[in-house]
Symmetry: C2
């Protein structure tokens, strides 16, 4: 652990939802010596106790209103569906200088939640989304380097105070992430394509196979490619349920696009249109190879 | 490299198609000292020269008829669409004791090819399929341990000689693989589900995203899950084109099943049927977690 700097960025950090994301953020900031105290909050006492034992938080409180007392930074790292009740519970207990941010995988629904609570967009709320994670959940899965060389998208609004935006940006940069600003709707479209749709495909594929009569044998012969391909189907169902609800419109649009493309490929296979099949695969391979060198 | 045993299993192995699979098989058998001589064959001289330089084959011949001369084991490791012309070219040049096997990812089409060439199922042909591979191709990507702890499926027919079946089984066991017998149709159904369908989904997903207007930005925000999920879209397009053609019927059946399940999930999202969404994800996560511990 690094020496505490004379003036850490955050005096008291309150992390509501000390799971993979919240826990990893706290770990990274503590390692940098850029947070003087971390207070954890959540509903699962066992998880919070583990967070203390692992040194991720200094102490915890299961009551959000008490947990945020005197915190200058509040990170709401709960599933999307829990953001509204959590913010409702803390809103009248926040310190005057407190900055709030979240880590939700969709931003339109979070902004709508906040607006519903406040009746307007408050200046100290900065919607955020670290593009990082594994298929694991819980504080035990957290680690300080999770955000290194990953991207964090912030979607500040016209009403967002520049100082609040800067503090959240600086916080994420300290974890080793690259921080990018984006519009709310654009964020949700990009994530529907690159993250939400792939998760739908992985969940559906595993479920399709799991409901076949000879599923035991089917899975016995699943090869290496299947392991990688299906990994994201081990992600937290509740979290992904919430993402579907939160980003419904843009996700449905992407599923429809994909479904039409899959049907076009099926038609090419059915009609023995070999050029169309080969073209599709070659185009996809080129795009994938341009993207990664693995 | 191990000492040559007094009596290696194979005196002269001819590998037609010295790529990832053919090259890895030759490497594994050489390391075990269970093959006295390996002759490579293919159309790409650069690849064959590399195979000699890498020590994967002793020599090569680009003419299949000459390459199989006096070989007691012939492994046809070319894409499915090339199996028929290759076998046609070698059929009257095989040694009397030669056993032939292939490594195609679909078996019904291979058996039909063979029957068309011979007018019957020959006793010395053993259809095979090692469930192993990476998204890489070519002899440079080959390695001796590719088949260790992987499964190899053989689909011998009523006409197949027990001695030929045993020799091919023993050959694959020497690479560290577990060898399993299966019916031709059943093999193709299992592989359509666990391998062919996932590849269609990965290719289609990458292609869908690559054709979006903001594809450059889309791909910039693709997270870790996308990298794993899309890896198989880097697989060889020609090989997968051939698999689509060869296993058309069973693949189309699986695409239809998957498409219906995806549409059911989309309907649940559209209708805000939260229980249905959560059930699907929970069922899939359970199935995936039971399968792998990663």
């Amino acid at each position: 652990m690094a020496e505490m700097t004379a003036q850490p960025l955050i005096r008291r950090l309150c992390v509501i939802g000390v799971g993979l994301i919240g826990g990893s953020l706290a770990r990274a900031l503590r390692e940098k010596g850029e947070v003087a105290e971390v207070v954890g909050c959540g509903r699962n006492q066992d998880n919070l106790r583990a967070a203390v034992e692992l040194g991720v938080v200094d102490r915890y409180d299961t009551d959000p209103a008490r947990a945020v007392a005197d915190a200058d930074m509040v990170v709401v790292a709960v599933p999307l569906g829990a953001i509204e009740p959590v913010v409702r519970a803390i809103v009248s207990h926040l310190a005057a200088e407190a900055v709030i941010t979240d880590v939700g995988s969709a931003k339109g629904s979070v902004v709508a939640d906040i607006e519903r609570i406040y009746g307007r967009i408050p200046a100290n709320f900065v919607p955020g989304h670290p593009i990082a994670g594994t298929e694991k959940s819980g504080v035990e899965a957290s680690f300080a380097t999770l955000f290194q060389k990953r991207r964090v998208i912030l979607t500040p609004l016209a009403e967002t105070a520049a100082s609040a935006h800067q503090r959240v940006k600086r916080m994420w940069e300290l974890t080793g992430a690259e921080v990018i600003d984006m519009g709310v709707r654009h964020h949700d479209a990009v994530l529907a394509a690159t993250s939400h749709l792939p998760h739908m495909l992985a969940y559906t594929l595993v479920d399709t196979l799991a409901r076949l009569d000879d599923r035991a044998e089917i899975f016995r012969y699943a090869a290496g490619g299947f392991r990688d391909f299906s990994r994201i189907a081990s992600s937290d169902p509740k979290m992904w349920h919430d993402i579907c609800v939160a980003n419904r419109e843009q996700l449905l649009e992407m599923i429809a696009l994909f479904g039409a493309d899959l049907e076009r490929l099926a038609a090419a296979i059915r009609n023995d249109d070999r050029a169309a099949i080969l073209n599709t695969f070659e185009r996809a391979k080129r795009a994938r190879d341009n993207l990664y060198l693995d």
